[in-house]
Symmetry: C2
Subunit: 351 residues, 2 copies
């Protein structure tokens, strides 16, 4: 199945509970948009494209359950849903992007409530379907950057679980592997929530791609030892100048890979690029519950004193100078990113 | 008590079992030099200065238990012990340094077995006692680099637990705090074995120094946000040119701190400097059991697929260009390190 799907028999949203992987593959059925909002907030589902599609289906469930008697009431109900869904996580821009796409549908004031209900679900389904196509296209463009025999450091999870299917950076690896290229992946475990060790390792096993898990701070050692040929990751939001907000740890990884002359790629659909902000410093960075850092056991023992405190920023900003190229659905974009991203986006919108 | 001590009533080595902290403070009593070797290997005791003192006491226990009938047999017994103790961990040079100091005592061939036995224990005790004096001296020199109001990133554990007492980098922080400077420490958790979260946080609580634990890869975020004024760590071995082998993660941390113009200090006794090798690339780097990376539970769930594999280098090398200054027992050494370290060492040996 896909990471997130609309259940047409019950008009609900089904998704894989990513908190339980790799131990258990459980499908959660979400009954209303509050449950969808909670699932995004609690990281039952995560990854910028997957969050976008999930929020769109959240709007569809709100549309389905609204008992509005006229279009105006319906628009008001969905405005409420869009505010609740839109405030779940601040950094990934796909969330707002997807909700805005749904809101555009709602502006068709001459449609009846029932017609709008159908149009909203159709748009949500289109967002999900297009995500799969876009990810596949990025995978094909990106795979050309990968050489036979490459050892690749990958950060966080950017696979099928982070999107509707295929994924971004991991999609590239999967595509290169399927083309017969011999690849070894060093999987950054991605503290605090260990999406690398838990999810990326699990996905790589499904695709039979060889890997080793490493602690995030071991990346420097492997870059230094010249064992690594490429570094690749996704993004939660990209500024117009190509600065990249991504999972915490991306920035020191990119700085260190640049320092060692290792090509460093971000794989990013246009839905993740926020052309409304010029630089990465304007991207809001979510700081999450310290418990995510502290609730860990090493060899069954707690890892910190009982009353320990922690700080837990979920993302960092990698300035564009550390990025070799950005892989999008319209091709591989090289610096200067300010000009070339905008240009590629325009061409893609026309084409 | 000290991290490691000779038990004069039972002629054994007592040490704090650092694997159980912060949950439990248990003293282990080691009965023979094989147990001492195992304790070093299994990281019951860790930290370059502490490993040195422990190995010296390991030689003392071998000396105490040898049933040699003459000096030659005694030397042969202790040669065996020195080989077993010396091969426990490859990176920290204090291990070999301390064993070599004991072996120098053994060259006094005109002493009786009983006299040698006493001389070995005296030398081991001297190594331990001097370690405390040296660490205190480094703390005093280093504290001058710390300003009132500083926020400091600290990596791994370099406190009393990593030495006989006081510690290296954490000794500097403790001294600055005791001088009334207001300090906040961001404690890098230090995956895989979490010496930061487990040991440094625990020590900071003993000293009432405010701190927050951060994941290792969050350091970049805090350096970027200009919240951090200093970065400080110890070392397991320093080459003659000032390249520093230290706990895995030190290298990307130092690269990122330099990139942000944040002063980056290593606190290192001369016993950790290996003047026999010119550059850090000649320092052997230990790769430990992958299980240290994989045997982790987040919210009581395993963090990796059942058959996952991992790579686990325990140290990395930070080239000298990323180090602002090295704090030693004879003062703060600035670049060029090749000349200045040698000069300071000579002055210290004479003085």
């Amino acid at each position: 199945m896909r990471t997130v799907e609309w259940d047409y028999t019950q008009n609900k949203v089904n998704l894989i509970d990513q908190r339980l992987l790799p131990g258990e593959l459980r499908i959660l059925s979400l009954n209303n948009y509050f449950e969808v909002a909670a699932a995004i907030k609690e990281m039952v589902v995560r990854g910028a494209p997957a969050i976008g599609a999930t929020a769109a289906f959240g709007m569809a469930i709100a549309a389905h359950q609204s008992d509005a008697r006229n279009t105006k009431e319906f628009q008001s109900d969905l405005k409420e849903a869009s505010e609740i869904l839109g405030s779940t996580r601040p950094t990934a821009v796909n969330l707002v992007w997807a909700i805005n796409k749904i809101n555009l549908i709602l502006l068709n004031a001459d449609l009846t409530v029932e017609e709008l209900r159908i149009a909203v679900l159709e748009e949500a389904q289109r967002i999900a379907d297009e995500d799969v196509i876009i990810n596949r296209r990025m995978a094909e463009f990106g795979a050309k950057l990968i050489d036979d025999g490459d050892t690749i450091i990958h950060h966080c999870n950017t696979g099928a679980l982070a999107a509707v299917d295929w994924g971004t950076a991991l999609g590239v690896i999967r595509m290169a592997h399927s083309q017969g290229k011999k690849i070894h992946v060093l999987v950054g475990e991605t503290r605090p929530r260990l999406q690398g060790a838990r999810l990326t390792a699990w996905e790589l096993e499904q695709y039979s791609i060889p890997y080793d898990i490493i602690t995030d701070s071991a990346a420097g050692y492997f870059l230094q030892s010249k064992e690594v040929n490429k570094v690749i990751f996704g993004a939660d939001r990209v500024a117009a100048n190509g600065d990249i907000a991504n999972k915490i740890g991306t920035y020191p990884l990119a700085v260190t890979s640049c320092e060692n002359g290792v090509p460093t790629y971000a794989v990013v659909p246009f839905s993740t690029i926020d052309f409304s902000i010029y630089s990465g410093w304007d991207i809001p960075i979510e700081e999450r519950d310290p418990e995510e850092v502290l609730d860990l056991k090493f060899r069954s023992m707690p890892i910190a004193p009982e009353r320990a405190t922690a700080r837990n920023p979920a993302f960092d900003v990698t300035p564009n100078k550390y990025i070799t190229a950005i892989v999008t659905e319209s091709g591989v974009i090289y610096p200067p990113f300010s000009e070339n991203l905008k240009h590629a986006f325009r061409e893609n919108s026309i084409g």
